[in-house]
Symmetry: C2
């Protein structure tokens, strides 16, 4: 049965994603109506530059007054694709107060203020959906919070930033250095003029906070996420990775710590074996690997960004929220009942690949090995290479805590025979 009164949708933001959402709402209007059970009407579009020509959008719908738009009171769904903290946050809560449900693609806001936004949605009995906030078109939020709702997720390991994956893939396949690969990413439009949010891991950290929260039914704030960027990864690191049968990816890792009584979330470059499904994720693609008790290993793969893929995720949410409106219900809201403590990075346990520049003389290896032993870090393999009176030592450890490894490196730096610590990289996915 088709309801004839249309669902009124307001669009906040009409950039790359918003214009694609508006376009598909028009071109696929009949499909959307059939899938929701009611027609969908674009009721208003809030923009910053009203004079810009927006193909296919009735100029009468365009306004610069986003606040007045969300206060109209007749809206069913507000789609927020502005990004950033403010004014997005205030607009979303105002939308709830005035009776609308919200579909958002705003990872930064969800990672920082997700709990407060969910509380506002609950208070007003409205939906807050945000599939598009993590990994673009890849269905991830819904599978994690609904399909795996009967399972226990232990680990989420993901490539959730396309820009950095493009750069690392380029370095891996062409031997290019970081700057050269970044320049190419910028030229091709994969990296922004200021690439900081991507290459320093801020974008991935926001996604890690959201994923960890859903996977572990626990609030994880952006500040809880350990973050290390990939701008210091070198061609030499890739050469080392190859020798180990690995490649290097910038990973977002959310896992239960120790005996499962706490959780951790972190973003950093890491070596992973070439045999791991994430190792073959090329270019700007994203992929998220989920390990759980009953399902074992699942992977979700696809384009992590871009106007059309992100719009697809927004529209999937629009259909779900629209159906909920019509049946007078809401979807699963925030699930934070487990409320596990979030452990610090020091408690993370993993393996490490450490390159040291050392003096090329007898006894150095013994000294270095002693330092590892004193800190309780067990060595798996050591490789020594001499070059012109200096030598390099590559140590791969067994599993150890980040705190123990940190203490080890600190002590190594204080050894006379250690000229420098060339690189420290975690080894994951084994």
């Amino acid at each position: 049965m088709m309801r004839t009164r249309p669902l009124k949708v307001a669009l906040l933001g009409c950039g790359v994603v918003g214009s694609e959402v508006a376009r598909i709402m028009t071109t696929h209007a009949d499909d959307l109506a059939a899938r929701i059970g009611a027609p969908v009407e674009l009721a208003g579009v809030a923009v910053r530059r009203p004079d810009k020509v927006r193909e296919g959008i009735d100029p009468a719908l365009v306004t610069t007054d986003a606040t007045a738009l969300v206060k109209r009171g007749d809206l069913d769904i507000v789609v927020e694709v502005i990004g950033g903290i403010e004014p997005a946050r205030t607009l979303i809560t105002t939308a709830f107060e005035h009776g609308a449900s919200v579909v958002s693609a705003n990872k930064a806001l969800l990672a920082q203020d997700g709990a407060a936004l969910h509380a506002a949605a609950d208070e007003h009995g409205k939906d807050l959906y945000y599939e598009a906030a993590v990994a673009g078109a890849i269905p991830l939020i819904r599978p994690l919070r609904e399909s795996l709702a009967g399972d226990k997720v232990n680990r989420v390991l993901g490539i959730v930033n396309g820009t950095t994956n493009f750069i690392l893939d380029k370095m891996d396949t062409t031997g290019a250095g970081y700057q050269e690969a970044l320049d190419e990413a910028t030229a091709l439009g994969y990296a922004e003029a200021d690439p900081t949010a991507d290459v320093e891991g801020f974008d991935a950290a926001a996604k890690a906070a959201i994923l960890a929260g859903i996977a572990f039914h626990t609030r994880v704030r952006l500040d809880d996420v350990y973050r290390e960027g990939m701008s210091e990864v070198t061609a030499a690191d890739f050469a080392s990775a190859k020798e180990m049968g690995c490649t290097i990816k910038l990973l977002a890792i959310c896992e239960r710590a120790g005996d499962g009584a706490s959780v951790t979330a972190r973003v950093h470059p890491a070596m992973i074996p070439l045999s791991h499904p994430l190792a073959s994720v090329r270019g700007a693609y994203n992929a998220v690997f989920v390990e759980s008790d009953a399902s074992g290993q699942l992977m979700f793969y696809g384009p992590g960004a871009g106007g059309a893929p992100t719009a697809s995720a927004v529209l999937g949410d629009l259909v779900a929220v629209g159906r909920n409106r019509i049946s007078g219900t809401t979807g699963p809201g925030e699930s934070a009942y487990a409320a596990l403590p979030v452990s610090s990075m020091g408690e993370v346990v993993t393996r490490y690949h450490i390159s040291l520049d050392v003096a090329d003389k007898p006894g150095v290896l013994a000294q270095v090995a002693t330092v590892f032993a004193e800190h309780g870090v067990s060595i798996d393999t050591v490789r020594q290479q001499g070059k012109d009176g200096e030598a390099s030592l590559v140590v791969v450890t067994h599993r150890a805590s980040d705190a123990a490894l940190g203490g080890t490196v600190e002590a190594l730096r204080n050894l006379d025979t250690v000229r420098g610590v060339a690189s420290i990289m975690r080894v994951e996915g084994e």
Copy 2:
């Protein structure tokens, strides 16, 4: 707010999947209650052999009278993991009539009678969920029918049978023949004593019917699915595939035909390029590749069978259906509004790899090429190899309809100089 009256769940079948569902319902009772918003109570278990000891299941709950169980009238959810057409079909409709929603893992039944079952669910205002029916633990039904609800899916290309993927992977990596690889699969428990349903593609065809129905919002019956097994794939086919930079997979392919006004669904072995993400799906794993207008290419990967993974999918549905019961609503039911016609295999357009045994004398290639031309099938490459007075000819075509290719092969068989058609294999995923 936790509701205190528990949701009553009956389990039909307590084999590999059912016992795992019961186990997780017990061990994860608190988590399930928190995620649903009400405790879940196992209210009855219908089995064939009541005397078998079932660890963790109260013997008082066990019955051989499944019909009486689903007629009790106090059940909220019936979980059907018996498999097969009857008595599963009657039990499910009886469950709807007596007020319960249903979670099923029954691909054969859904593929054959999905429309009637959905109609029964709708008539009684109940849910019918079946994530576990396709590709085990991999969230696929929910992403297709919910996450991609705002997108237009054009193609679904999947490895949806773990047994055959194990066999083909073994043939590929070890050079083993079909029988040898099947024997190993049987010994390891990946293949059943009678492997027909798997190796002849019946299992994959049922899944293809279900996937096509959801992807294209169109009813696709099992009979609509073209089906060809993989028991005739040879080591020589793998050698040919390698020469083309391909491997061989048993694929389920659902796609829009021609101008998108109809759909097709088929299961057959096919060559796919090694660079395609599906090519690296190893062992008994499943993966499904989805191409759509806005999202581009998505892939879902994971274990396609097994007690625990299938139970994870069942429990995810149990949580969703449980939440729907509490809020007095139902989830998205069957979406068949598009009602596109299903085209026959003859209208499928793809590329072909054909091996011919021919007489080793001048003019043969010209004869063969003429036959292709007469049927409108354009040749991409030809490779000719002589051996002891005979020769083999490998022809790879450009895209052609299956009907045209069929006519070509028929005519080739009638040529005096063609001793035999050694193999015909479709080439996909390019």
